[in-house]
Amino acid sequence: MNALQTNELVKKFGGVTAVNGLSITVPTGKITSVIGPNGSGKTTLTNVLTGICQIDGGVVVVAGGKERARIKPYQVFGLGLTRTFQNVRVFEQVSVLDNVLISLTKRSVLGSLFEKNKEEHLKKAEEVLTRVGLWEKKDAYASELSYGQRKLLEIARALATGADTVLFDEPYAGLFPEMVKLVSGIMRELREQGKTIVLIEHDMALIRELSDHVIVMDAGKLLAEGKPEEVLSNKAVIEAYLGV
């Protein structure tokens, strides 16, 4: 069973077809990297998979479930998916701790109204914030963190959901080397726990180091997919992406 599968997926923005008949599979329990030149549709793919953009054609299958021609954002969590954003989207004027607790507490209006902070939630929040080195900053507003720290907070928020599949959209952008190591370590841990990771990234060294499976997109279409060493030595990929 694949964690994610798309069949002939299409997403258009006016006259621009950002994702154009894309059919891919993301194997369960692996790190799948999605690479491609700027504007190739990688982030649009993530947005479509998480309901932020509506699907214009084709279907998505999550964890072997039914074929979906429409995903609403609030359904994403129930499908066992979570994500980080290319442009950091933490809850700026909310504390670091509350940013993470959001991922842990009840989602229904009535359920959340009568729910206070539970010990188990605080414990989990401490665990993920400690993992990304932000526990000391738990009472600060997210807006007071540096860019890199806010990226880490997004990762902590995603980890706290316990989702089976995590989509990381350029998680390394703007991180200094120690933070890069930290994020790579988290990804390996998630893989060891049997989680599926979809990684959108431009750094080829990191792609080689982490990926089990690579998908290359160009102009919204699938250019190649397979094992990293095969895909990254593919002539068409080198021409389209690496430009040599």
Binding site: Y74, V76, F77, F91, Q93, D98, T105, V109, G111, N117
Partner: protein
Amino acid sequence: MEYLVHLAVVFAIYAILAVSLQLIVGFTGLISLAHAAFYGVGAYSVALILENTGFGFFPALVLGILMSAIAAFLIGIVLSKFRDDYYALGSLGFTVIVFSIFLNWQELTRGPLGIPGINRPELFGFVFSENIVYLGLALVLLGLCYVFSTFVTKSSFGRALQAIREDEVALSVFGYHTSWFKLAVFVMGAGMAAIAGGLFASYITFIDPSSFGVPESVFMLSVIILGGLGSLRGAVIGALVLVLLPEALRFVGFTPDIAAQMRQVIYGLMLVFLMLYRPQGLAGTYRL
């Protein structure tokens, strides 16, 4: 003394309005201009029920809350699809419609003539006729609204409201059906605004549409922005300052021919300087 008690009652009514609007604007980030409409629905419901039925003030108040909540639910279903400027415009439109109903449905509301002779509340034969006693009632209701709002904001629901304010789309990806949260807080706020409306109607004993128009909604927004968005305490402080400030300026000593205009000028300047040098308001932490 009677004058001070009167100011305190007016403050309590505006503090209820501010605390309830704070849930919608300061915590959830929805710029609602509909609050005066719900204030009016509460006031007219209480006035009409007292005038036309055998119900007393408190059952009438409960029905007024219910009417306001139903109105908020119906308009909220539409408004919850929007955010930012569109939300503000939609809520503005609702206030204009409700104001027009108050003004033009003369068989029911008596239009611009208003409804006079509204009874003061009565409980087990005790009439809240003295202003000092009425103040006690107003403060108790303010206290209940404050405690309820604190309960809401300290819950996981309150945390979700703040996340909606910050980034509704990002929150929805974490499994929150944000429209329901926006609708729920809107209905809660409208219910509390109706309490203020009922108190106002029964205190002044006369209502007409002029108290429930768009300028009143704008005034309520000024109260919570000045007091501090995202802070219940700030809402109460904002109400205190904006109710008392114009009264305090009466004693500055302007000559009678320019006193009213000068009060408006000073009042406006103070708001401008506050926003320049303390944009988070007197007691708030959140900035628009």
